[in-house]
């Protein structure tokens, strides 16, 4: 009995430790939310309290009026949604082909895709930027990519480089490799074309991997900072992540407003995470790559 209760004591102590760690991890977010409801007067006062004396919900409206936030959110949503949808289609189609179909040159093509896994986005960023700028016939460019702005300041420029790539193709291929051969043979005998086999049999069975890829793409598109920073230079094309940096530029940062805007930018992903935790974790565990 004594042994059992000391074991229980150990569990209680460890639970308390874990709970304390959780609170420390959440603390920055709590500080963010609590600050977002304070007035600047309260923030600057020498006496400090964690909770706001009066909750100022209008900070949020005020924060959104600093900059064209409706537009930033719209831009981020457009870029994220198109990136996710198109990348699911292209990556799963290519992944299926590499895993299930036979044609000359397939392995060489796949090997060249694998090379891409080792290439950091930061390495290709300068040439990709220049290509976007000098894309023939885009954004007022002539046939040789001169005279215009190409895909700078356009959704195309923000989306195009991310709709397919080594990672997504590889992920889908590995998934489709695990399907039994009998599946193809049975449908073939029924006279279905390869493409039909793909979208009527394989796709419905690949929801887990598509969900994982969708989560991964949503997170990276919504959270991206560097590419929009390089690709856009007008107010109207800013995304939410760039929008946050407006406040930073001010000499006297209005922390309450900055924290309100930050809360709004963080919120969609936190909600998504709480709703689809399983797929976030799966994404990390099955792929490990590029988190």
């Amino acid at each position: 009995m004594g042994k059992l209760s000391s074991r229980n004591m150990g569990l209680v102590v460890m639970s308390v430790v874990l709970l304390a760690v959780s609170l420390v991890m959440l603390a920055p977010f709590l500080i963010m939310v609590l600050t977002s409801f304070k007035t600047m007067g309260e923030i600057q006062s020498p006496t400090f309290s964690l909770f706001p004396k009066v909750w100022h919900f209008d900070n949020y409206a005020e924060a959104l009026s600093r900059g064209d936030w409706l537009k930033y959110f719209y831009n981020s949503f457009v870029v994220t949604i198109i990136t996710v949808v198109v990348s699911l289609v292209l990556n799963s189609m290519a992944g299926y082909s590499f895993a299930r179909l036979k044609f000359p040159g397939r392995d060489i093509l796949f090997f060249s895709v694998l090379i891409g896994i080792m290439v950091p986005a930061q390495t290709t960023m300068i040439p990709t930027f220049l290509m976007m700028k000098q894309f023939p016939l885009a954004g007022g460019n002539n046939l040789f990519g001169q005279d215009g702005i190409g895909f700078i300041n356009s959704y195309t420029g923000l989306i195009l480089p991310f709709i397919a790539g080594s990672f997504g193709i590889f992920l889908c291929r590995q998934f489709f490799l695990n399907f039994p051969r009998a599946l193809d043979e049975a449908s073939q005998i029924d006279g279905a074309s390869k493409f039909r086999v793909f979208y009527q049999i394989y796709l419905p069975l690949s929801k887990p991997i598509l969900a994982t890829l969708a989560i991964f793409k949503t997170t990276s598109a919504w959270n991206d900072y560097m590419w929009p920073l390089i690709m856009t230079n007008t107010e109207g094309m800013r995304t939410v992540q760039l929008g946050l940096t407006i406040f930073r530029g001010e000499t006297n940062v209005e922390w309450n407003l900055l924290m309100a805007a930050t809360t709004l930018v963080v919120l969609p992903l936190v909600v998504l995470f709480l709703a689809a935790q399983k797929y976030f974790v799966q994404g990390i565990v099955t792929t490990g790559l590029k988190a």
Partner: protein
Amino acid sequence: MKPTLSRSVETDGKTRSKQRLSIDYVGYAMIAPGYLIYFLFIFIPLIVGVYYSFTNYNFYSTPEFIGLQNYARLLQDALFGKAMYNTFIYALFTIVPQLFLGLILAVLLNGKLFGRVFSRASIYIPNVTSMVAVSMIWLWIYDPALGILNRMIKVFGIDPIQWLYNPNTAMMAVVIMSIWKSLGYTMIVYLAGLQSIPSSLYEAAHMDGASKIRQFFSITIPMLKPTTFFILVMSCINSFMVFEQVNIMTAGGPLNSTTTVVHQIYLRGFQDFQMGYASAMAIVLFLITLVITLINFKYGNQGDDLDVD
């Protein structure tokens, strides 16, 4: 995109017993869009980037081939050396605590503790949110006059610290924030590693009378070796990509104490428009990640093989 695109062998399928010789030409059509994007926006830029790294290119003129001059300049560039050093320091000081803390948290969360679902979510949430957002939050925490960190240490009678504005503390401040941000990732990967250890090992050890501590050092740690190696490799690669927190929180300062490799690429490429020189830096970055990845291929797989036995 229509089934009619398929020129494969449905009709022959029934007569021919083996279809091994048939070629699915539709495969080309299905790979084409994804492959084209990959080819245009990853493969070609990599080749072009290598070419630019041998040129003097200021964005407005045409690239002029100058051989290895950019690389020679890199070797003498004190600022780039500083960026390399900072990146290395950043990697060292984020990875080691992350491995340590991530393992401990994963072991705790692997047990049947109260509130572990809540804990797992709380620890992982920083990893979900954007680096820009968390940089803003930590700027506020580190704010010298009003931030909560200096308000807290004041209680203990410590004078306010200029966390991000002092060359001696700035990198450590960035490091602490980054550990907080990515700890959840390490924890989740370790948790997956822990769950793949067969419970029979622990049962056998328990029968032999091994204590929990002994089991941890004799079973858990050795069995997690491939996981640890994997996290180490991934974190190393990620460390070399550090940019956002640095650009937002410190802009590389004070006195370049936090500038990193990617931050230098960004400054040289997109502020000074020295595209050729910045490309040389980008290629160096690529070579570093390539070496780390190859080490992973060589030793990472071996670790897995050993594990199966």
